[in-house]
């Protein structure tokens, strides 16, 4: 008995509602470093209620670690609610801004990519093409691979933001 069996590493998306106060982000991030948890991405923004912020946090670990992450987050006084979006249907998006080397081949490829993904050109000249792409995490990874083929000059990405699809309680 006793120990936890090692389970495969899974990904988790958490939506964490917190008090909108200074120091809260530091508490959350500090918890992850102090307990050796991973953060793959983290995005924070104020909610419809200005006293609260929503943190969307992507992490990974085995089952026990993921349980501990949720419990330890819940233990923080400034955490109001922890929602595990991996357990329900959710919408997730990431924003990528990419600066690529301009080339005829890229322009041609972009026309094709734009048919499948939410991607458009925001700046263009003879040397570079800047793209904006808002996509799911899964698609973002695929697009990222494509971009690499054309030579990325610079790239900036937000972490994932996500919401549950659940309707409000009547």
């Amino acid at each position: 008995m006793a120990v936890h069996d090692t389970t495969p590493v899974q990904e988790i998306i958490l939506s964490v509602l917190v008090e909108n106060r200074s120091g809260v982000l530091s508490q959350v991030v500090g918890l992850f470093s102090a307990r050796g948890f991973n953060i793959d991405s983290l995005a924070v923004g104020e909610t419809e209620d200005p006293t609260m912020s929503r943190i969307t946090l992507v992490s990974h670990g085995d089952k026990r670690t993921l349980e501990q992450i949720k419990k330890q987050l819940n233990k923080l006084i400034d955490v109001i609610k922890v929602q595990d979006l991996t357990e329900e249907e959710c919408i997730d998006r990431e924003l990528v801004l990419a600066k690529l080397k301009a080339s005829p081949a890229l322009k041609e490829a972009l026309a094709g990519l734009a048919r499948h993904y939410k991607i458009h050109v925001v700046e263009e000249n003879s040397k570079i093409i800047c793209l904006e792409c808002t996509e799911t995490r899964e698609n973002r990874k695929k697009i990222f691979e494509k971009f690499k083929e054309f030579g990325i000059v610079e790239i900036a990405q937000t972490g994932a933001v996500a919401l549950s699809k659940k309707p409000p309680k009547e």
Partner: protein, 555 residues
């Protein structure tokens, strides 16, 4: 009213009896207001001492301990104590002075980012930037410190805010939307637990500090006696059941009794109550309680299933859960099991090789217990003497054994004893310490002398950092690297220099006499310096990370 005055008013509303602290620039306004306070303000000699005193007060009374210190170094000196309280779930409210709010971030004189430094070691902390928040902040601080799993709460208090004017209204209630601890256990889970207990032939009740904190010693005793399930305590849980109870097996874990560890190893059901499966208890987790189902009761959901898989988790206040459990639980058939454990107790009792003339540490502690009694409050420092105290000082009840369990802080014992003696002026308060540990907060002799506290300090003096030496002997081929305490002072003269009393004992024949003499000292602290066998080891011992199979009963 100014902010500083508001703090004093709020403390009065919270029925604070003692504030432990030391003033400095950034908290001069606050100390000026404290000058008129109805409660007592105790000047310490080092801020770490203040925190441990507050811990001693908190652990012996169950109420929050209160500390006030200045900014910068004053605040950083409290860090060890705060971390200690956090690990052992001790309710504290610590106010640290801070530089003027408009100077924060400017590397001002005696500035430190105290909320940043203490964030991982406090249950919560505040930086007060608006004086109007102060009453709510203090109300919340006391509430957070004492509710759910208790812990230290820090308030960083800039000096200009302490001089700012406010309209003082102390709130009656708190509303923290992120803090709603669950106190009632799930009835279905409690029923499942009761069923497992009834079905079990070989149950063991394993209890920790949670029993003491929630005041559940009575309920625990009822459970033990009703179910006839043998009980073992962690270091933090000692006093949860009387030390002499026939179903009590002593402490478990690294230096626990052979029979308690064997019982855990053989049991079919482990009922963990207010304990957290710490590595000093479990050793090799894979081999811990290998045949047992596990019931785990704890107020902190994150403590459950952190280290081990649990069959019946029950989140709730230990006292309430045990009350409900006691109502419905039916005893199982444990007769053979109890007999078996009785046999193990005979086979491998807790014992040591006595000496005809010299002082064995275990003997000194047994005599202390015999003479000063099982009703005394006993604090310890950290190391060999701490384990011997846990093994040989049999206490009658909860809130009497105050020791640094989680953090293992040398220097904890003496100031904690001072805090407990303030809380219980008429009780015998004994600090069992080592020659290494006592020197880490010896300066508080002055605090004890000034306040005429008859704290007794038994130094188990082996001229070594004894536990370090023991490990070096066992695992590092007798290479005593930096563990010999050459240069120890004459502790009797040291006590006398502070205005306390002292006596040195180096013969077995003098042990009793010296302890009885210490009882005649009633108006000042008294050191009994026991010169004990230098290379005595603590047994039994399960080496770090090992299992019961590798227990060493005696050398």
């Amino acid at each position: 009213m100014i902010g500083a005055r508001a703090v004093v008013e709020a403390f009065t509303k919270e029925k604070v009896e003692y504030v432990f602290g030391l003033p400095g620039g950034a908290c001069l306004p606050l100390f000026d207001a404290l000058y008129d306070a109805k409660f007592k303000v105790i000047l310490v000699r080092h801020e770490q001492g203040a925190v441990h005193m507050a811990e001693g007060y908190a652990r012996s009374t169950g109420k929050a301990g209160v500390v006030v210190v200045t900014s910068g170094p004053g605040a950083t000196n409290t860090v060890t104590g705060i971390a200690d309280a956090y690990m052992d779930s001790i309710p504290l409210v610590v106010i640290t002075g801070q530089v003027k709010s408009f100077l924060i971030g400017n590397d001002a004189f005696q500035e430190a980012d105290v909320t940043g430094i203490t964030r991982p070691i406090t249950k919560y902390n505040y930086l007060v930037k608006n004086v109007n928040d102060l009453p709510r902040v203090i109300k919340e601080a006391f509430y957070l410190a004492t509710h759910g799993r208790p812990g230290p709460v820090l308030i960083d208090f800039p000096s200009d805010i302490s001089l700012a004017e406010l309209d003082f209204h102390y709130p009656d209630t708190v509303n923290i939307r992120g803090f709603k601890p669950k106190v009632e256990g799930h009835p279905g889970q409690i029923k499942r637990a009761a069923k497992l207990i009834t079905e079990s032939k070989r149950p063991v009740i394993y209890t920790g500090g949670g029993v003491i904190i929630s005041g559940a010693a009575k309920e625990l005793l009822e459970l033990v006696e009703k179910t006839k399930a043998p009980c073992t305590n962690t270091l933090m849980g000692l006093g949860g059941v009387p030390g002499t109870h026939p179903l009590f097996m002593g402490m478990l874990g690294m230096h626990g009794t052979v029979y308690a560890n064997r019982a855990v190893n053989e049991c079919d059901l482990l009922i963990a109550v207010g304990a957290r499966f710490d590595d000093r208890v479990t050793g090799d987790l894979k081999k811990f309680a290998p045949h047992a189902k596990i019931i785990h009761v704890d107020v902190d959901p994150s403590a459950i299933a952190k280290n081990v898989k649990v069959d019946v988790p029950i989140v709730g206040d230990v006292k309430q859960v045990l009350q409900e459990l006691n109502k419905i639980v039916e005893p199982g058939d444990t007769k053979d099991w109890v007999l078996q454990i009785e046999k193990w107790k005979q086979e491998n009792p807790l014992r040591y090789t006595d000496d005809s003339t010299g002082v064995r540490p275990q003997y000194a502690i047994q005599k202390l217990c015999e003479i000063l009694g099982s009703d005394a409050i006993v604090t310890t420092d950290v190391g060999q003497h701490q384990m011997w105290a846990a093994q040989y000082y049999k206490l009658s009840g909860p809130n009497q054994f105050l020791t640094s369990g989680g953090l293992g802080t040398m220097g904890y014992g003496f100031p904690a004893a001072i805090g407990a003696q303030f809380a219980f002026p008429h009780k015998t308060v004994l600090c069992i310490s080592g020659d290494g540990s006592i020197q880490m907060n010896i300066q508080e002799m002055a605090t004890a002398v000034v306040n005429k506290l008859p704290v007794k300090i038994a130094i188990i003096n082996n001229n070594y950092l004894g536990m370090v030496r023991q490990w070096q002997e066992k695992f590092y081929n007798h290479r005593y690297s930096s563990s010999e305490m050459s240069g120890n002072p004459d502790f009797v003269k040291l006590a006398e220099a502070y205005g306390g009393a002292g006596i040195r004992v180096d013969k077995k024949a003098d042990v009793e006499k010296a302890i009885r003499w210490s009882q005649t000292i009633t108006d000042r602290p008294c050191i009994i310096d026991f010169a004990v066998t230098e290379e005595e080891n603590v047994y039994p011992m399960i080496p770090s990370g090992k299992s019961f199979d590798e227990i060493i009963d005696m050398a």
